[in-house]
């Protein structure tokens, strides 16, 4: 049944049709469903920021900020981090604990690299006099990158917990794969958001 059919059921007379199992909304673990809703919330956050961005951009005092080329390098690093976590997850699925560990560490290190790169971008821009308070265009740049960075830091907390458990002697590969799966999904999505933000900043 699709959702409209489900909502059209007459619950006072449908006893003949109800199969006695739960008809949960999604074929996924609760953690995955929770993550999806969270990513939805994150999308709303960035969508609203975009709306504010366009409204503020319409004012006369807007001066475009030059985007440092280092952002391109950072983007590549984040893409690599996403690939590494995907590889870790796939290795886990094949039962390969060694590659799973390697992928996890690689993903985390690359992400930290990305964050360091973003901070270098901030430093460069400040050194050139592009402070957040100088122009709203700068302010939005810091806000977008800052919020995205904070979400990556949040991801790193989950990553840290998964990675530390990967080295426990009683590490359960299946459970570890599930956690890596959640990390990978989060990373892919935040990569998408970063590409969106980056694209928005380039185009406008």
């Amino acid at each position: 049944m699709n959702i409209f059919q489900k909502l059209a059921v007459k619950p006072w007379s449908d006893d003949a049709h109800v199969d006695m199992t739960v008809e949960g909304g999604f074929h996924a673990t609760p953690a995955k469903v929770g993550l999806r809703f969270f990513l939805f919330v994150v999308s709303v956050l960035f969508f609203l920021l975009t709306a504010a961005y366009f409204m503020r951009k319409g004012m006369i005092d807007w001066v475009k900020l030059p985007l440092p080329p280092l952002l391109m390098v950072n983007t590549m690093v984040l893409v690599a981090a996403s690939f590494a976590l995907q590889w870790a997850k796939n290795s886990g699925r094949d039962g390969n604990l060694k590659n799973l560990r390697l992928g996890l560490v690689l993903g985390g290190v690359l992400t930290i690299g990305f964050l360091v790169g973003q901070m270098m971008v901030w430093e460069d821009l400040s050194a050139l006099g592009y402070f957040a308070a100088t122009n709203p265009s700068n302010a939005f740049f810091y806000l977008f990158t800052g919020l995205h960075g904070l979400h990556m830091v949040g991801g790193l907390v989950a990553w840290g917990r998964a990675t530390s458990s990967a080295w426990r002697s009683d590490a359960d590969v299946e459970q570890l794969t599930q956690r890596t799966d959640l990390c990978a999904a989060y990373w892919h999505y935040l990569l998408l958001i970063w590409l969106y933000v980056f694209g928005l900043l380039i185009i406008t």
């Binding site: 059209a8 956050l45 919020l147």
Partner: protein, 583 residues
């Protein structure tokens, strides 16, 4: 569609042994619900006291020395923000959501118990940060609960140094807490329903809380964004919302920012917020009316659809708060139209409540009195909403006491009546004890009649053109003496109604001391939370096996049934009318 449910999985459930593990750092949804409720109600009492102070100034200007203009604005601001966010939102979702969702859908707990616990403690942190602003230099912010820039962060507004930053920080922390809780409620409703609990067999309380949570998850990011942006304007001097401005004779560094942008973001959160509070109230009141009228809810499907439609529409009406903000007039037309359309599903709900009562076997119990009181108050408040939704009528009434009367009726008194209806209704389940019926009725009549003594006259003050948020009217010529007299009477009524709430607390304390054991299902209700093996339910809720659901939640006054109702978990075979229903 069939797939394994995690609801049967017992391995995850962690049973603590110590007192601290059971009642302080608890992961049990019921304990967390009580923690949320106690915190929300405590902070609500602070807000109630603040409203007394405000009313004292309005009724008897200048008589109380401790209320100067600054503190008056601080009281108003804190009263509004606490009531809307820290009391009602936290109580309906954190309190009732936490308690009812797992019990009503037949789960052992929320799907992420640890996150649930964290949600409460982060919420408590946000409350502490907010309360800290009373002790900060300069006191709490007096910017009005809407926190409009530029005045919110400029000199001249009380609390512009510490108060506003503590307020914004507290809101950001609250949103983090809400998100953790909200993800839990949504995922639990979707993934942890017990066998046979299809979406359309869920009690309307769960539907209301579920949709309100989704609204919250979509709306709170707007508040988060505006909170962060305003903090940056304040702290590092960006100009997101701040235009070029001269303050106290001094040209500030800001330039080009848009205060209207803040208003758009704020109300994109602010209007759904009304429904975040209202939808759980709608759901809960539906269940209470049905149970105490011994009749199935009229138009169950329509009720569910109306909740969904209201939820959707609530995101396209926000700018009706901004008719006088200098928006393009065509926007005003659009938002007036959507605002009036939202009255349609809302009216459907009201009709269905009334039709549920029609020819019902109405038991005027304490929860039922509060629920019926809600219908009256909600209709009153809703109808003035139709006035204010029209641009041409709103412009002269904007920022008058008419608006104050409207929103207090519709989202102050109405939800609070439901809060009490629900607290009395579920009190025997939560504590296992009976409450005192007579005290409950005294509490109801004092509250119900008293709130009318407060808010009905306010409509007249508004039509007279009396502006809200004024510390003192300084004998303005257009305000007749009778208006001052009316304000005195409103103030006296407000003091009495506030004091009447103590009857409720007296009742709770009395019942907890008297310890008169309640029947496990005193209202003969059908929903699962009344069918638990223990009363009050213990950690894990259901004993060794989960309940299985065989019917919807509204089988009341069933002909031939042993006790006139059929609980949701009663098998079909035990139903005397099973054959009839099949054909």
């Amino acid at each position: 569609m069939a797939h394994a449910t995690m609801a049967d999985d017992l391995t995850e459930l962690y049973h603590p042994k110590t007192f601290i593990g059971k009642y302080i750092w608890s992961q049990d949804h019921k304990v967390i619900a009580i923690q949320y409720t106690i915190t929300a109600v405590s902070v609500g009492l602070v807000a109630l006291t603040l409203s007394w102070f405000m009313r004292l100034q309005i009724g008897f200007p200048g008589m109380f020395e401790f209320i100067d203009a600054d503190s008056y604005y601080q009281f108003t601001t804190m009263h509004g923000m606490i009531m809307v966010i820290y009391l009602l939102t936290a109580l309906f979702l954190g309190g009732f959501g936490n308690y009812l969702i797992p019990l009503m859908i037949g789960a052992r707990d929320m799907v992420f118990p640890y996150l649930n616990m964290l949600s409460y403690w982060v919420y408590l942190l946000s409350v502490i940060i907010l309360m800290a602003s009373f002790f900060a230099p300069g006191g709490p912010t007096g910017a009005g609960w809407t926190l409009y820039p530029p005045q919110a962060i400029l000199a001249g507004t009380p609390g512009q140094e510490w108060g506003i930053m503590l307020m914004l920080t507290s809101l950001i922390v609250f949103i983090v807490a809400f998100t953790m809780g909200g993800l839990n409620y949504v995922t639990t409703v979707l993934q942890a329903r017990t066998k046979g609990m299809t979406l359309m067999r869920m009690p309307l309380s769960v539907w209301g809380i579920f949709v309100a949570t989704i609204l919250g998850l979509l709306a709170f990011p707007a508040l988060l964004v505006s909170g962060i942006m305003m903090s940056l304007d304040k702290l590092i001097g960006t100009s997101f919302f701040m235009p070029a401005i001269v303050s106290m004779g001094e040209q500030l560094e800001y330039s080009g920012g848009s205060p209207v942008l803040f208003q758009h973001l704020f109300w994109f959160f602010g209007h759904p917020e009304v429904y975040i509070v209202a939808l759980p109230a709608f759901g809960i009141v539906s269940d209470i009316l049905s149970t105490h009228a011994r009749k199935n809810i009229f138009g169950y499907r329509m009720m569910v659809w109306a909740i969904l439609v209201i939820g959707g529409l609530s995101f396209v009406v926000w700018a009706h708060h901004m008719y006088v903000s200098g928006m393009n007039p065509f926007f005003g037309f659009f938002f007036a139209t959507t605002t009036l359309i939202i009255a349609v599903p809302t009216a459907i709900k009201v009709y269905n409540w009334v039709l549920t009562l029609w020819k019902g076997d109405i038991h005027l119990t304490v929860p039922m009195l509060f629920a019926i009181g809600f219908i009256f108050t909600f209709i009153n408040g809703g109808i003035t909403g139709l006035f204010l939704g029209n641009v041409a009528v709103d412009v002269p009434l904007s920022d008058t006491y008419f608006v104050v009367a409207h929103f207090h009726m519709v989202m102050g008194v109405s939800p609070v009546l439901v809060v009490f209806a629900a607290l009395y209704h579920w009190f025997p389940k939560i504590t296992g004890y009976e409450f005192n019926e007579r005290l409950g009725k005294i509490h109801f009549w004092g509250t119900f009649l008293g709130t009318y003594a407060i808010y009905l006259p306010m409509h007249y003050l508004g039509i007279l053109g009396m502006p809200r948020r004024y510390y003192d009217y300084l004998d303005a010529a257009f305000i007749p003496d009778s208006a001052y007299l009316m304000n005195q009477s409103i103030t006296i009524a407000a003091l009495i109604v506030g004091a009447f709430q103590m009857v409720f607390f007296a009742n709770v304390i009395y019942s907890l001391i008297k310890k008169k054991k309640s029947d496990p299902n005193p209202w003969n209700a059908t929903t699962l939370e009344w069918q638990t093996p223990d009363n009050p339910p213990v950690h894990g809720n259901w004993g060794p096996t989960l309940p299985v659901v065989h019917r919807w939640a509204y089988d009341y006054s069933v002909p031939g049934a042993e006790k006139d109702f059929l609980p949701q978990n009663m098998p079909r075979g035990a139903d005397p009318n099973a054959q009839e229903e099949h054909t």
